[in-house]
Symmetry: C2
Subunit: 203 residues, 2 copies
């Protein structure tokens, strides 16, 4: 099938967002959790967490102006702290429910079976059910001109990871614990058949 840009722009709204959201390939599946200065917690599913660097360790994610994720943003800007928590297969229904539009005074932790947990005095809650939990501190943001989205970058402050996942050379084998990926807007998939390939040199 061929779609020119004119075809894409003319697609029906739901068809277009399903289609274009699938085009980047599989996406990471994470819960970002925050707590406001008024102590209200918030947790929401994100599929745009990306690695920006290892030294210093930096992760980025994208906030879309059309989705109601302002609680996450407001809490990060007020407090500087948030957590990124991996989603595994047994968590997908509860994780996906965090995409429902709740008012800011409601915590998604109270509306789902996800459990908030605190570690080492860090301000933001972790998701207890996640086998990889990352404490993050806001670093900088980039307003994207073309469509008013916002790229948020943070540095990793601490990592809590199920030790069964971590191999001898530091590789975290996410298939061992049924960590999921996201396809498009709303499909959750479980990667398997993990093959590590050697470092490549010119032939």
């Amino acid at each position: 099938m061929q779609f020119t840009r004119k075809d894409i722009d003319a697609l029906e709204h739901l068809y277009k967002i399903n289609f274009v959201n699938s085009l980047s390939g599989f996406k990471s599946a994470n819960l970002i959790a925050t707590k406001s200065v008024k102590e209200v917690t918030n947790v929401a599913v994100f599929s745009s967490v990306v690695h920006y660097g290892s030294a210093p360790p930096i992760l980025g994610f994208v906030l879309r102006p059309t989705t109601v994720r302002r609680n996450t943003y407001d809490n990060i800007k007020e407090t500087e702290f948030y957590t990124i928590n991996h989603i595994t297969e047994s968590m997908i229904h509860e994780a996906h429910h965090t995409s429902a539009k709740y008012p800011s005074e409601i915590s998604e932790f109270d509306k789902t079976a996800l459990t908030e947990v605190y570690k080492n005095g860090f301000h933001a809650p972790f998701v207890k059910e996640s086998s990889v939990q990352i404490a993050m501190k806001y670093v900088e943001e980039y307003p994207i001109k073309i469509n008013n989205t916002l790229l948020i970058l943070g540095e990793i402050v601490a990592v809590y990871v199920d030790e069964v996942l971590v191999e001898k050379d530091g590789f975290i084998n996410l298939s061992k614990n049924e960590t999921v990926a996201i396809n498009g807007l709303d499909a959750y998939v479980t990667p398997a058949n993990s093959k590590r390939l050697p470092y490549q040199r010119p032939k």
Copy 2:
């Protein structure tokens, strides 16, 4: 296992990059292909392609200063055009080999079994073996202050997709064709067991 930021900064180099590259969760697996003004083609594997918006349709990816991806960048800046091509399971060995450091006068299409193909007069080559091929035009770039990486945004000009993957509502079911995802730096996984969940409203 717990890693404080101090622990992470002190990790041995390879352990650190394996570990931190795994922390974002599963990543998309794409080949970005370009052609220089001197008609030399280039193709390289990227795991950072992210959806930035559907109207207009925008995808972003990250260039790391420490990896030799300057051919991709130089060609995009010179010509404005590139393609993003999904990687499926049968392609992983050839796709991964594009990470070898070849000089700019060598095309990775000549060093791998990947085949370049041209469509509708578009300047950059597509990867024939990919079941999703996306023609892209450069839009803008954001230099990231914290670590000198570069976020490149482009708009989708055209899409060529195997019609067996596209469902009635526009969702591209990437599991149907063994599209892969990347875990960390060098592990390729094949997602399955795709579950689509309904649009969520507050309980």
